[in-house]
């Protein structure tokens, strides 16, 4: 995206496991994932609801809600003077708190419910600036808040700053949310389905805005979405998740043009094409996502896979096999040895 050396990672996730303690036992929401986000780059995390993508985002801020917790793995953040492992910090610690906002910020899916309804949006930005001692007094913080609102192209920011969340439309609220998240100049922005709750026109405006601000502010972005089109539009690299596993990862162009994993292939096939006739049936992925407490044995996707090989896929978890530089897939079919043996 920028001229910067893309290989220099801002955050490295390794073997991250997140579990939830439920009445039915411990359920794994995130199952040993590894990927990294380069400085200034954008990684899209793609998957259906319940695949663990949002929890992954929350892990980066150490904000997994009870009864969830990070069970193992590491999240190394290289934005500060020296690298820190976020999983080693206590969620309530001061060190963690200082990372949230100025280093890593997050925007959420529901602009409706993501604000405290009792305070003006201005106050909600100002208190964040004050909590991180960005300004000596509230007056200057307020100036900066207005400045941020202008930056996200809200009309008459001086007025909006004193508005309550319920007085704004969904699109405006999401702009305020972006202004809030960016107000401390974070190095990484986690966007958790920021456009899902918005209509299509607003969605593309918000995406444009995010892309433009990312360039301006030189930050990295982790973009969580279930929408392939959005991912292809915004990301450099894409991580496809299924039931807490990474099933495919690689540069966005590669993954979309030559998907290796049957799940990614099915996702791509399920997008209706303009050339389809009206009678063409939608290529939906068969079956339903198993609930996490009914985790299938072997490959997590084998229950819905059209290329399911009995005795193999339901027995053994495939590893991540590289098909081209930086492009990996968790499928035996992508294993060059296996392909060779089959041939």
């Amino acid at each position: 995206m920028t001229g910067r050396n893309m290989s220099e990672p801002l955050i490295e996730i390794e073997g991250l496991v997140t579990e939830f303690r439920t009445e039915g036992g411990v359920v794994r929401a995130v199952n040993g994932i590894d990927f990294s986000i380069p400085k200034g780059g954008t990684v899209a995390v793609l998957g259906e609801s319940g695949c663990g993508k949002s929890v992954t985002g929350q892990c980066l801020l150490n904000l997994v809600r009870k009864p969830g917790y990070i069970a193992s793995g590491s999240i190394r953040y290289h934005g500060g003077d020296k690298p820190v492992d976020i999983t080693k910090l206590k969620p309530t610690s001061e060190a963690m708190r200082k990372l949230r906002g100025p280093e890593i910020a997050m925007i959420f899916q529901e602009p409706m419910t993501s604000f405290d309804p009792l305070f003006t949006v201005g106050e909600q930005i100002i208190e964040m600036l004050m909590a991180h001692q960005r300004f000596p007094n509230r007056r200057e913080a307020r100036e900066h808040a207005i400045e941020m609102l202008r930056k996200v192209r809200l009309p008459s920011p001086e007025i909006i700053v004193d508005r309550y969340p319920h007085q704004l439309s969904g699109g405006m609220r999401q702009r305020v949310m972006i202004a809030l998240a960016l107000s401390c100049g974070p190095k990484l922005l986690i966007a958790d389905e920021p456009t899902t709750a918005l209509d299509v026109t607003t969605e593309s405006q918000i995406l444009d805005l995010l892309r433009q601000l990312q360039g301006e502010m030189d930050m990295a972005m982790m973009f969580i979405t279930h929408d392939l089109a959005v991912a292809s539009e915004i990301a450099d690299e894409v991580v496809v998740m299924y039931l807490g596993y990474i099933v495919e990862r690689g540069p966005v162009a590669e993954v979309l043009s030559a998907p290796q994993h049957p799940y990614t292939q099915a996702l791509l096939d399920s997008i209706p094409k303009l050339t389809d006739s009206a009678s063409t049936r939608l290529n939906a992925i068969q079956g339903m996502v198993p609930t996490p407490d009914q985790m299938p044995s072997g490959c997590p996707f084998h229950t819905r896979c059209t290329k399911f090989m009995a005795g193999l896929c339901d027995q053994k978890l495939p590893g991540l096999y590289e098909s081209s530089a930086g492009h990996v897939a968790r499928c035996f079919l992508a294993d060059p040895q296996f392909a060779g043996a089959a041939a």
């Binding site: 309530t92 949230r100 405290d116 208190e127 964040m128 909590a131």
Partner: protein, 327 residues
């Protein structure tokens, strides 16, 4: 807002009238009246001459006039500030109420402050430490507080106080102070008696408010905006007290009026058990003796208190919550 308050106050007038009608009907429903009860009691004590005076007494109290006339005289005088006289001790109702009001207010205010002052922090603690031993203990305490009638609690406290000090802490003042003017010694004596009833009533109140606070806090803590607040890097204290607590306060404020009637209820029976000179005790006696103007006035007073309490809670709600607008 002032228009809204004025409107609400205006609506209170017809409601009040209806309450007065109902109160009046309740007092008039039994076949007996104050005089017949009085005569019966006197006759039982051997004072048979009183029977002849029955009609004269009725005449004197206006009890022989038609019902609607009695009612209208009562209502008209009531709104002119004349609450009538008490049949049983022949003094003006307003005097008796004013005598009883200070003690009632002090005891209720104390119980009110204790219930909110202790209930809210404990509720917040319970919610922020859900399922911790502290939370489980407080929950158990709350369920006992809600399950145990406060008058029984008062009785149990009374027994323990007796076993510990050898004093029966009935009433609100020791015998020697009852008819004394106000003094520091009397105030201290008052406190040494009042803690018992206040604790008994506040125990239930605290449990109730704690439960409500805990539930509200837990509900708010589960909302998405809490995640935003934490993601902003706000200190946890700010997240809890400035944001979550203020949101959780919202349903508590709607309870404000309810808590008032809760206190009136609580002290109603506790006062009787502990023989406290509160307005509730007077009310019960007046009701049983069919001392209708006294009972009626207290009933109206209590109803007005509850209505004003509800109004205050609505106004506070509008002040706390920008989404609520009354026009």
């Amino acid at each position: 807002m002032p228009i809204y308050i004025a409107k609400r106050l205006l609506i209170m007038v017809p409601t009040l009238l209806m309450i007065m009608v109902v109160g009046f009907i309740i007092m008039k429903l039994p076949a007996s009246d104050f005089v017949s009860q009085y005569v019966l009691r006197q006759a039982a004590q051997g004072n048979t001459g009183i029977v002849a005076q029955q009609d004269m007494l009725r005449e004197q109290f206006g009890l022989n006039r038609p019902l609607y006339e009695q009612f209208f005289t009562w209502v008209v005088n009531f709104f002119r500030g004349d609450l009538g006289i008490s049949f049983s001790d022949l003094r003006p109702v307003s005097t008796i109420i004013m005598e009883r009001l200070p003690a009632t207010l002090v005891v209720s205010a104390m119980a009110f402050i204790v219930s909110w002052g202790i209930g809210i922090p404990l509720g917040v603690y319970s919610a922020t430490h859900q399922y911790s031993p502290g939370d489980i203990g407080l929950t158990a305490f709350a369920f006992i507080g809600i399950g145990l009638p406060d008058f029984l609690l008062a009785l149990i406290f009374l027994v323990f106080a007796f076993l510990a000090t050898g004093d029966v802490l009935l009433g609100l003042n020791s015998m020697q102070y009852v008819n004394q003017p106000f003094s520091l010694a009397k105030a201290l004596d008052f406190l040494s008696h009042a803690w018992l009833s206040v604790t008994a009533v506040a125990f239930t109140g605290t449990a109730f408010i704690m439960r409500v606070t805990r539930n509200n806090m837990l509900e708010e803590l589960g909302k998405p905006y809490v995640m935003t607040l934490r993601a902003k890097g706000l200190p946890e204290k700010v997240v809890i007290w400035k944001h979550v607590f203020r949101n959780a306060l919202h349903p508590l404020v709607t309870l404000f009026g309810q808590v008032l009637s809760f206190l009136i209820n609580g002290f109603a029976i506790t006062s009787i058990v502990l023989n406290l000179p509160t307005i509730q005790t007077t009310y019960l006696q007046a009701t049983i003796q069919q001392d209708m103007y006294l009972a009626g006035a207290i009933l109206v007073l209590i109803a007005v208190t509850v209505m004003v309490g509800n109004l205050i809670s609505d106004v506070m709600l509008a002040w706390l919550d920008p989404r609520v607008r009354y026009d």
